[in-house]
């Protein structure tokens, strides 16, 4: 560092190189993440003859929405309705139970907290495939197969532990003094929890609800086993119907997939910040 201009030029060169690396790396990452998704939309917009051209076309020559329009028949709309119903109901029931549990587990005075949380964590890590057979047999004896009620209860097996655990992270992060001062003001601890703490935890509750919604929206395995009636199918199961015995209707399949993604992305756009905060602070606290 002898003169002023030399290090300046060197620094500028270094910054230019660093910027080049940044953009290069960002482009690579973008291609890795979105390349496959591009192909999904590309295929969804192709007319049938272009889909089956070999070698494949990297963009539609005469793009058309006919795949989307054909996909949106009453059956598909029914699948959407089924999925929305099941995912919403499971989310509501699950969050309510988790909030109840949160009162006992996550409050500063709760003594059972730690052991309950450990039990919850263990059940969260059990393989759902293992629970599948006994739950199926039980639902079968109770006549709960092919009913949304049975499926929703089954979904609680893997959503409730996660919900309790995520909410635990959010609720314990709210200072205990807030609740204590509410109690000094004459609220019982129960009411203090629901009137003071729960409203404060609203962003966390939203993130937890979103997580539960995704999990159920995505589920395939339980729906596959619990729902055999065509009319009851949820979206992931219904989409498989486009894979016929002889041919695969790729255009409609990809159009359906694109539409399946949209609600998730909309919800995610709203809760993204809390969602990531919750995952990093609650589930995977460093």
């Amino acid at each position: 560092m002898t003169t002023a201009s030399q290090p300046n030029r060197a620094r500028r060169a270094r910054m230019a190189r660093s910027r080049l690396v940044s953009y290069g790396a960002a482009i690579v990452l973008t291609v890795v993440v979105f390349g496959p998704l591009y192909w999904m939309i590309n295929t969804a917009l192709k007319p049938a003859d272009e889909i089956f051209s070999s070698p494949p076309l990297w963009f539609p020559l005469s793009p058309t929405f006919s795949n989307f329009i054909d996909t949106l028949d009453p059956v598909f709309i029914r699948y959407i309705g089924n999925s929305l119903l099941v995912a919403t109901l499971t989310t509501v029931v699950c969050v309510l139970f988790a909030l109840l549990a949160g009162y006992a587990v996550s409050r500063p005075s709760g003594k059972s907290g730690k052991s309950v949380i450990v039990a919850v964590l263990i059940s969260q890590l059990l393989p759902p495939a293992v629970l599948l057979v006994p739950l199926y047999k039980t639902a079968d004896t109770l006549g709960l197969l092919n009913s949304f009620g049975g499926l929703i209860v089954a979904y609680l097996t893997f959503t409730l532990p996660v919900a309790i655990w995520l909410l635990h992270g959010f609720i314990t992060s709210i200072p205990a003094e807030l609740e204590e001062s509410a109690q000094v003001d004459g609220l019982s601890s129960f009411r203090a929890y629901f009137k003071v703490i729960v409203p404060l935890a609203r962003p966390g509750i939203a993130a937890t609800a979103a997580y539960i919604f995704f999990t159920v929206w995505q589920d395939f395995m339980f729906a596959l086993v619990f729902l055999t009636d065509q009319d009851m199918r949820t979206l992931p199961l219904g989409v498989l119907g486009y894979i016929g015995a002889y041919t695969v209707n790729w255009g409609q399949l990809m159009a359906a997939s694109t539409m399946l993604l949209i609600p998730i992305l909309v919800i995610f756009a709203f809760v993204q910040k809390q969602f990531i905060a919750g995952l990093t602070a609650g589930a995977v606290k460093g």
Binding site: V33, L121, L126, P127, A129, V130, Q218, F220, V284
Partner: protein, 312 residues
């Protein structure tokens, strides 16, 4: 209770009032924890016990009344070539995907912490593969891998690496081909975690190391990485368990085939229970997979305990 009353309570008869208060509070807590715990006991506890019970029973489609067979289900598992294939596949599957997701996740986190226009958008959108249903990801990649309709084959022959390989149809490539999809679908979560952890590394720490003459790589390995270690450990353990349990991709893409080349524990449990209708054998597979997972569960709990997440 009004606030003036509350103030009076805080004066003299505090001890007695408080103990009745505490008792009521405890009763309420028990009341609140009971429904969720009962649900969990019924939905998780009972199936686990039932699986243990079924694993020592034998029933068939023709003869559905289960009879006690002791450990014969396990004996037939340990002597079957299929089980060892499933075990080896599961180990390769779990370790390979976990390593892939961790390395890609770290790389992506480093990229997402550099400065470039559009960084905020990319940080938000990078999670798309992770939030997309596994069935959809599986179907989409089936198309991508298709030797005549998909772009991968075309890209490979364009690069001169060869083409005409049906990756999902060959026993030698099918498992790795599905693993690639699992890494693609799963690494965004690791990336998000590591991006957050990276931002939590105090700038002063990095600055101090740089002033001490450490180069970029040195700063990364001896300052940044150690600070991120707890997050990395937890994420790796969670990824391991989730990957081991992951069913959708394999089911949609290969159904465990060709042969048993992509069969892993969850697909084996499903197939034996619902296609072969052999609940006993399927449950025995279930018991073994829980036994394997319990090792990781213990490790995860220890990690959480160490990082203070379990105590308040």
């Amino acid at each position: 209770m009004t606030s003036s009353l509350a103030l009076k309570i805080r004066r003299r008869p505090r001890l007695r009032k408080q103990s009745s208060y505490r008792r009521r509070e405890l009763a309420l807590q028990i009341l609140c924890i009971t429904p969720p715990l009962l649900l969990l006991a019924g939905l998780v506890g009972y199936p686990v016990v039932q699986t243990l019970y079924l694993s020592v029973m034998k029933s068939t489609l023709i003869d559905p009344e289960p009879i006690f067979v002791g450990l014969r289900n396990f004996a037939s598992i340990f002597t079957s070539a299929q089980f060892w294939a499933v075990l080896v596949n599961s180990v390769i599957w779990t370790i390979g995907i976990t390593i892939g997701q961790t390395v890609l996740g770290l790389l992506a986190a480093l990229i997402l912490n550099r400065k470039f226009i559009g960084r905020t958008a990319l940080r938000a959108l990078v999670v798309i593969p992770w939030v997309m249903p596994g069935v959809i990801a599986g179907i989409l990649w089936k198309l991508l891998y298709d030797p005549s309709l998909g772009p991968i084959d075309q890209l490979l022959s364009f690069l001169g690496i060869g083409g005409g390989v049906n990756f999902l149809g060959e026993p030698s490539t099918a498992l790795v081909a599905v693993m690639v999809v699992a890494v693609w679908k799963g690494f965004p979560l690791s990336a998000v975690m590591y991006t957050a952890a990276y931002q939590n590394v105090p700038d002063e720490l990095r600055e101090a190391a740089r002033l001490d003459g450490a180069g970029r790589w040195r700063v990364f390995t001896s300052v940044v990485l150690p600070s991120m270690a707890p997050t990395i450990r937890s994420t790796v353990l969670l990824t391991t368990v989730w990957t081991f349990n992951y069913f959708d991709l394999t089911y949609v893409m290969t159904q465990g085939g060709p042969g048993y080349s992509t069969e892993i524990f969850p697909t084996a449990i499903y197939r034996i229970a619902f296609q072969d209708v052999d609940y006993g054998l399927s449950s025995a597979y279930g018991v073994i997979s829980v036994a394997i997972l319990s090792v990781f569960t213990v490790l995860y709990l220890r990690q959480l305990n160490k990082s203070g997440s379990l105590s308040r």
